[in-house]
Symmetry: C2
Subunit: 567 residues, 2 copies
């Protein structure tokens, strides 16, 4: 199966564009902490999410050794000078698998991992499991049953793998954590390492500042949104409703809004927090359309995250009921009669074409159009007839050539993987921090706790989204009314724009471990000031101050504290 | 109206991205023939299409002087050194208007025109008519009645315009030609100049090698198609049906196919030439899906030009009937009963959602799905369930930042406009040839004939499309079966890929005037060899050879000759 996908790369001779050739020759830099033969991993690496409840395990029960195709791929990238090969390091055998949705840059993880492995011992082996992107083929199935987990374990043991590297998003890394625990319990010697690669950007937490692919996805989408904004401004007669791929979280929509300044963006997290219904959202958009028409503007651009539907409880419940009936073989025509009374009422309200497949952007456009026509008839709206064009941006972005940042980040993560597995750590995720600085300032951090469960990262995600949302809110009225569209332009590899990173990564100081270190320095400083021999006044002031700090932090850390602490 | 659109640029302060700033500073080069104070326009410029039958005249009856906004726009671009201002040239007053669909690069025509005008006399004036893109606002109406043409003439006379420059595609340039004739007949002294700016690329002929915007559109779309190809290869379960904006001709689809090597492209010109029905096309696609499934490939990418529907006679006729009924206020539900018998039969056959708005890609996807399900049931098809995802790429491309080539081309065309109007020519189109060579080899050609009517250029278009189609046909079976997708990557402004031009422009030697010149050189050579004093044998051979050449060319030039002569 995966071999079919590889024919294109390795069977038939393929014509590469000038840019493809140039990008194939691009070689990312390593941060100083990973350079040279004695690698100093400052803190080590953060633990993989280990939320056992509802966790799935990694996919693909039937691994295939990669063999020739990987060898071919690696021939063009294995430019590590022989001089750096240090044979004192033990030989390792490492398996690697892609899991979940395609995300730009994932291949560079393999390249970095391979370079690191071979630099430490030329006899080490990297074995690719088919299933994952166009290089290895993407996984289509997940291993959920004990039999499947055992099949994966049997394969790892048969191949005598020292480590298995799983490249993917939230689900894949949760799977990886679960697999690591199962392997450990079963005394399987294969260590499991996760790598945060997903276009959704929803794996953010204190340790994972961003995920591989997010930058590229946001750049490709922002370019298109900007083009659509220019088109809106030019044609002066359309409202564009653009839905953005990105699973439940609104990270992609948020970053794209920061990049291109559309008139409106509906953030799922805010909708959920404010408990808005689909009718509330419709009304908000209609009021905006009306306000703009009063300023003689009959065009606009509205961004909608893919996950919005999950943030609207009544719609999500309806969807769940529909999916359930669909799985039972109930036809579209008969669904209404099988729904619960309130779901049926909502369903009957929906436009017929929506009943077949709920595409949020079309649903909203349709509801807004109906409401605007009503207002037009009533005379409360005096603008032009409302005219919507709907888009879903996703499939056309996730296969993009990765941005320079994603190339660099993925390559460095590949190296970090090696150091995790070489240290014999199990159930850890490769991370790099201080990403908003240049590569030579990037840090490879480590935290021994296994406490960084998925639930925690979801919470941080929500907070991150809301705190970034704040950036938008400051400008929301001028964005809404003034059309101050911004155009990041097409993704560049050289010249102006080539070095840009996500705005949401750069605006916030996410160097969590760096700030923990800074706090420890403050504590040491206080300690060195307040010691035997210091004045009574200094001691008194210090005691009083530290007592209140301690009390405050104790309250804030208690489970009952409901305030939204930003990280 | 247009002033609303300009607020964004000139009212509220707008944040520009790094790339926007860099592009705003980009200054195109001029070819040697346009440099310096004594401009040598080698042949002059080609005449505007003047097909009077069914021609429309230019849009917007109520011109507004551009004033401050244009001045603002020009401040940032008017970097012409004062030294080059030659006051001997007369003062000119020129109006400029955008017409039709937004197309990237159009603004650079104004910039080039302004630079040229001001370089020759600093007192000359460029006046923008509102209505056209986001700079001037796009035209929404066309002037069709005598009253409207007269209003345009009155405006030109009131503003004492020496010339009116109309920037647009086939329709706009046909309008321009019509307007030029009307102005001339009415002794209006305003000269009309056309500029070939359209994303559709359908204004190609011997003189117009390509249109401004075509390169950018094809680059943006090809990038997305390539991404979708990678996605298809990765997910291994979807067929993507991608419809491309580009009006009737298939130039955009063809260029994108040459750039990204999808599995199939349906060219409207070939469909029309082969008189294929919608069912023939469906069968072709189904057979391809089946053949691929037999090789274990359950994914693929199919390109469909926007104009395909017009190339399928029975579908086009149905559409015309539907539009006619729609204009008469017949509701969708009642349309079927008002259609002619055969149209009604076809309409009833269409899937319900298609009846509301015919989107060719969805129609084809639906028909292919129905046929594949039938074959699956019959057992003739044994692959996976057919799964299509539909896209329409257009709105997200035509507002793009223009490519380097489009910037250069448009700027040079702007200069050419000046030389046409300065020479007092009426009804001419600005053209530049030898575009596949670097800018310093570009030529500004001239042909005095007014014979280059739209019908001729449509014919050349068809031929150009077919001769390029040949390039695809050579590879069609490997494209279809082997997935040798090519990825031109995102549009680059610097580094590798920054200087690329459309493949369809470069593969063919379109330097028509250059080759005419070459022919004239051959004739001169023969003349110089065969003159009094040459041998009887030489004379005899020359006479015999030239007699057969003349006879052959006479036959080929006769109206009854049906062969497809390539230009």
């Amino acid at each position: 199966m995966g071999s079919v996908a590889m024919d294109s790369d390795y069977g038939v001779p393929r014509e590469l564009s000038a840019l493809q050739k140039a990008r194939a020759l691009y070689r990312p830099d390593l941060p100083p902490c990973l350079q040279g033969t004695t690698v100093k991993v400052e803190y080590g690496d953060a633990a993989i999410a280990a939320d056992v409840a509802g966790a799935h395990v990694i996919s693909h029960a039937f691994p295939h050794t990669y063999g020739q195709p990987l060898a071919h791929f690696l021939r063009k990238t294995a430019a590590v000078p022989d001089a750096t090969v240090i044979t004192e390091h033990p030989v390792v055998r490492v398996g690697v698998v892609f899991s979940g949705r395609q995300s730009p840059g994932g291949h560079n993880v393999i390249w970095g991992l391979h370079d690191a492995i071979k630099a430490h011992n030329a006899n080490s082996k990297l074995i690719g499991f088919l299933g994952g992107y166009d290089l290895l083929g993407r996984t289509r199935d997940q291993i959920r049953t004990t039999e499947q987990v055992n099949a994966a374990m049997t394969a790892c043991q048969a191949l005598k793998l020292d480590a298995l590297v799983i490249i993917g998003g939230v689900t894949s890394n949760t799977d990886a954590a679960q697999l690591a625990e199962t392997f450990a319990e079963s005394k399987c010697s294969t260590k499991v390492v996760g790598v945060p690669v997903t276009l959704n950007g929803d794996l953010k937490n204190q340790f994972v500042e961003t995920t591989v692919g997010f930058d590229t996805i946001c750049k490709v989408n922002s370019q298109l949104i900007s083009n659509v904004c220019t088109d809106a401004l030019s044609a002066e007669k359309y409202y564009y409703f653009v839905r953005l791929m990105g699973r439940k979280a609104s990270h992609v929509a948020l970053e794209c809004a920061l990049q291109s300044h559309p008139n409106m963006v509906i953030l799922g997290e805010e909708v959920a927090a404010s408990k808005l219904t689909i009718f509330d959202i419709t009304k908000q958009i209609c009021d905006a359309v009306q306000a703009r028409a009063e300023k003689d503007k009959n065009h606009g651009v509205v961004l909608i995250p893919e996950g919005l539907v999950e943030s609207i409880p009544e719609l999500y419940a309806l969807l769940q009921e529909i999916h359930g009936l669909h799985d039972k073989g109930v036809s579209v025509e008969n669904i209404s009669s099988h729904l619960s009374p309130w779901a049926s009422a909502l369903f009957e309200f929906l436009p017929p074409f929506i009943r077949k497949q709920i595409e949020t952007e079309k649903l909203l456009a349709q509801l807004v159009e109906a409401e605007m026509n009503k207002r037009l008839k009533e005379g409360t709206y005096k603008g032009k007839k409302f005219n919507a064009i709907c888009h879903f941006f996703g499939y056309q972005a996730r296969g993009a050539l990765p941005s320079k940042f994603d190339c660099d980040y993925a390559y460095v993560l590949g190296h970090v993987c090696y150091h995790i597995l070489a240290a014999g750590l199990n159930g850890y995720m490769a991370t790099v921090t201080n990403l908003r600085s240049p590569v030579n300032k990037w840090k490879c951090v480590h935290d021994d706790r296994k406490a960084m469960v998925t639930r925690t990262s979801c919470q941080s995600n929500w907070e991150a989204c809301c705190s970034h949302g704040e950036l938008l809110r400051q400008n929301s009225s001028s964005f809404l009314m003034e059309d101050i569209y911004r155009n990041p332009g097409p993704l560049q590899f050289e010249g102006p724009g080539g070095e840009t990173k996500p705005i949401s990564l750069c605006v916030e100081d996410r160097d969590y471990m760096g700030r923990i270190k800074q706090l420890q320095e403050y504590l040491e400083k206080v300690k060195s000031i307040v010691k035997p021999g210091c004045s009574q006044d200094v001691l008194k002031a210090a005691l009083s101050a530290m007592a209140s700090v301690t009390e405050m932090l104790t309250i804030m850390s208690s489970p009952s504290f409901s305030g939204q602490a930003t990280i």
